[in-house]
């Protein structure tokens, strides 16, 4: 089969402007090398294809030449019997992705034995710290007849692996190097077809046997396994091996796999140096389950058997649970009311993850960078060992911008691919599995229970400005009425009065010339968030000169984006244009809307009345109101030319 696609680094975000970023980092190299290295690492942490990888590698080479000491070096020798020049850039860039300066050495074609043995050879002068052996079966095992018996094959494989172990010992003894052994790629085509695996002497059966014994021997010898055979089996051999490249240029690893291959090497070298994830930090709504717990409630969220999406979310939970069993710490970072979020872990029957699986459980309305710092503090680990998994691109972006040390996989839109994203990303690469790993999750739970308070400091203003937010506010229109009604009847958390209205009632508000209705959309550079806010304001029954906010609710996905400030700004503008003297805000407490209890106070309203149940009335005089600064550009439709019965269509 002819393969024309490539294995992509699909867990990393695409770079929006690669060439400009490279040029800017090149310039920084002259003036501010430390910044240039940060830029380099950031650029490398994108979904680069092979050509882009070559470009980034030129930047890396220039940076390493200009300032060799900023990042720790790893001297890596690639020895084998195929050409590896096209793997050098992908490996070096994968190192840059982890803050490592990899200095590569490519051995002579098929010269690995002489190089390992001969004193004074170029390999010895290179002084490798790591030697990667990238071999083919023919390098270590004699050609066997197809009719060879199982006993013949067993003996030949055993001898071949013993020979390989000798090479590993040479690499250690003569060079003091750590050894990486690549598994054998099955490049031969089947001779029998389906029967191949059952015939001991078939090439594919021999490769299988070699790989099986190789994995055991590597574990026994403390050699690091680079298991490309396993990846090729999962992803498709044709991504990895291309007969055109083999016959033409003796490339065992096809260019279509080279960038992925580079990252595999990078993550092994990173794991050797302790650079890999320790803690998986999970968002909740639409990450661990479908829907929003605060709005949809325990029986409204999508989780568990019975729906495809519900099973996909379960699959992620199963995977996270398995990670925790191998020693990865689990944490939760969610914009939710703590008790509401926690209840799912305690009470939902389909939850695979239980409360005790989560070492640090942070659910509140603070920004996520602050919460990630808090999680790292509670667990007493570095922020750079957190892997943050969140379905929301805006949350991922603010974390990447304010805490670039945190690893942030680009969660795919379809939850069915969540596990592949985490697994292919290799964030938790390990070179051994120890007793300590098995016990780790338990230790961290204790550590987290002792620590509690919050810290903050992310530059939110800068982040918000970078979102290019645009808010469109319009009176209710016929076409929007279904969505307005749905949102009004579904929203629980950001809902000041929780009044529910039918669509007919909404149409009445739309037609009332004395009412001010707002349907609010928010667009940012990630796209249109859709209709996210609803306001109904009516002349106050007691004092008709005041405009009373009967209903105000918003989708929680836009919290912390200054939408509330901007809505008050616009309400004031409209109310003033219509001759009102003040806004009156009302808060009616429910078990779910504690989030907005202090909203009016925060927005500068004055308390005018309260009741024992916690309800309150607030007022804002329009005479001395000054608009609150926000990072949102506003488009106001059909308000300022009123009163006009046509305005509501």
């Amino acid at each position: 089969m002819e393969q024309s696609g490539s294995l992509e680094l699909h867990w990393l975000p695409p770079h929006p402007a690669l060439r400009a970023a490279i040029r800017s980092a090149q310039a920084a190299l002259q003036t501010d090398p430390a910044q240039a290295f940060k830029d380099l690492r950031l650029i490398a942490t994108h979904r680069l294809d092979y050509l882009a990888t070559l470009q980034v590698d030129r930047l890396a080479e220039a940076a390493f030449k200009a300032a060799p000491d900023i990042w720790p070096e790893i001297r890596l020798a690639l020895l084998g019997s195929s050409s590896a020049e096209h793997l050098v850039s992908p490996i070096r860039v994968a190192g840059a992705r982890r803050g490592l300066r990899i200095t590569p050495f490519v051995g002579g074609f098929g010269q690995f034995r002489q190089e390992l043995m001969a004193p004074g050879a170029p390999l010895e002068r290179f002084e490798p710290q790591v030697i990667s052996l990238n071999l083919r079966p023919a390098d270590i095992i004699d050609t066997l007849p197809l009719a060879a018996t199982r006993a013949d094959i067993d003996a030949a494989v055993k001898a071949a692996i013993l020979g390989l172990v000798e090479l590993w010992r040479l690499a250690r003894k003569n060079h003091g190097a750590t050894v990486i052994q690549q598994s054998f790629l099955a490049t031969e085509y089947p001779i029998f077809g389906n029967l191949d695996g059952a015939v001991p002497g078939s090439p594919s059966a021999i490769v299988d046997r070699l790989n099986r014994d190789l994995r055991e021997a590597a574990a026994a010898e403390g050699v690091i396994l680079l298991d490309i055979a396993a990846w090729a089996a999962a992803q498709g051999r044709d991504f990895w091996f291309d007969p055109v490249r083999w016959h033409h240029a003796k490339q065992l690893i096809a260019p279509s796999a080279s960038v992925f291959y580079g990252d595999l090497v990078g993550r092994l070298l990173g794991a050797m140096r302790g650079i890999s994830g320790k803690c998986l930090v999970l968002d909740l709504d639409n990450t661990l389950w479908g829907g929003v717990i605060g709005d949809d409630g325990m029986d409204g969220i999508v989780l568990g058997q019975g729906s495809g999406a519900g099973e996909a979310f379960l699959a992620l939970q199963h995977y996270a649970k398995a990670l925790s069993q191998r020693g990865v710490i689990l944490a939760v970072c969610s914009k939710n009311t703590h008790a509401v979020a926690e209840a799912v872990f305690l009470e939902h029957p389909d939850m695979i993850l239980k409360r005790e699986d989560i070492a640090a459980f942070v659910a509140n309305w603070n920004d996520k960078p602050s919460n990630l710092r808090e999680i790292a503090r509670q667990l007493n680990i570095g922020v750079d060992s957190l892997v943050f998994f969140d379905d929301n691109p805006a949350e991922r972006d603010i974390v990447r911008q304010t805490l670039p040390e945190v690893m942030v996989p680009e969660a795919p839109e379809d939850p069915a691919h969540y596990v592949a994203c985490l697994a292919d990303g290799g964030y938790f690469e390990a070179i051994v599995f120890t007793e300590e790993d098995r016990a780790r999750a338990e230790q961290y739970r204790g550590a987290a229970a002792r620590a509690q308070s919050m810290e903050s400091g992310a530059d939110i203003g800068q982040f918000l400005a970078s979102l290019d937010m645009r808010m469109i506010a319009a009176p209710f229109t016929t076409v929007d009425l279904p969505r307005i009604t749905q949102l009004t009847n579904k929203s629980n958390q950001f809902n000041l009065t929780t009044r529910r209205y039918t669509q007919e009632r909404m149409a009445d508000f739309a037609a009332m010339t004395s009412a001010v209705t707002l349907s609010v959309r928010l667009i940012d550079r990630f796209g249109d968030n859709g209709l996210i806010g609803v306001v109904i304001a009516l002349p106050d029954a007691v004092d008709p000169a005041k405009l009373r906010i009967d209903t105000w609710l918003m989708s929680c996905r836009v919290l912390g984006r200054q939408v509330e400030e901007e809505i008050v700004n616009q309400l004031c503008r409209i109310a003033a244009a219509r001759g009102f003297t003040a806004l009156v805000g009302e808060y009616i407490p429910t078990p779910k809307n504690g989030l907005v209890r202090d909203l009016y106070q925060r927005l500068g309203f004055t308390h005018i009345a309260g009741d024992s149940a916690g309800g309150a009335l607030w007022s804002l005089s329009l005479g001395d109101f000054k608009p609150m600064p926000t990072a949102i550009a506003v488009e106001l439709r059909h308000y300022l030319e009123v009163p006009n019965p046509e305005a509501a269509e």
Binding site: G5, Y50, L51, L54, Q55, H86, V244, P255
Partner: protein, 85 residues
């Protein structure tokens, strides 16, 4: 892939070569050949082949790769494989 005009194709190949040879000012014509640029060595030739294959979602044969010596050769092959000409 829609069928590019010659000028559009030449401009796309120019972009690829600029990235590959790290030369934002590189100007090429169909006559531009491997002899004209020492950076177009055997390694970069393989890189170029792969960049073209990725961009146009095509595969070159061994013979194509060996015979592809100039920008004009590349254009002819790409046009043939993407269905133009």
């Amino acid at each position: 892939m829609s069928t590019p005009t010659d000028a559009a194709l030449l401009s796309e190949i120019t972009d690829i070569m600029r990235d590959l040879f790290d030369d934002d000012a590189l100007a090429i014509t169909p006559a531009f050949s491997r002899k004209d640029n020492e950076l177009w060595d055997s390694m970069n030739h393989l890189n170029l082949v792969f960049a073209l294959e990725s961009k146009y979602k095509i595969k070159f044969s061994i013979v194509d790769i060996e015979e592809m010596q100039s920008v004009g050769d590349i254009m002819k092959l790409v046009e043939k494989k993407t269905g133009k000409a």
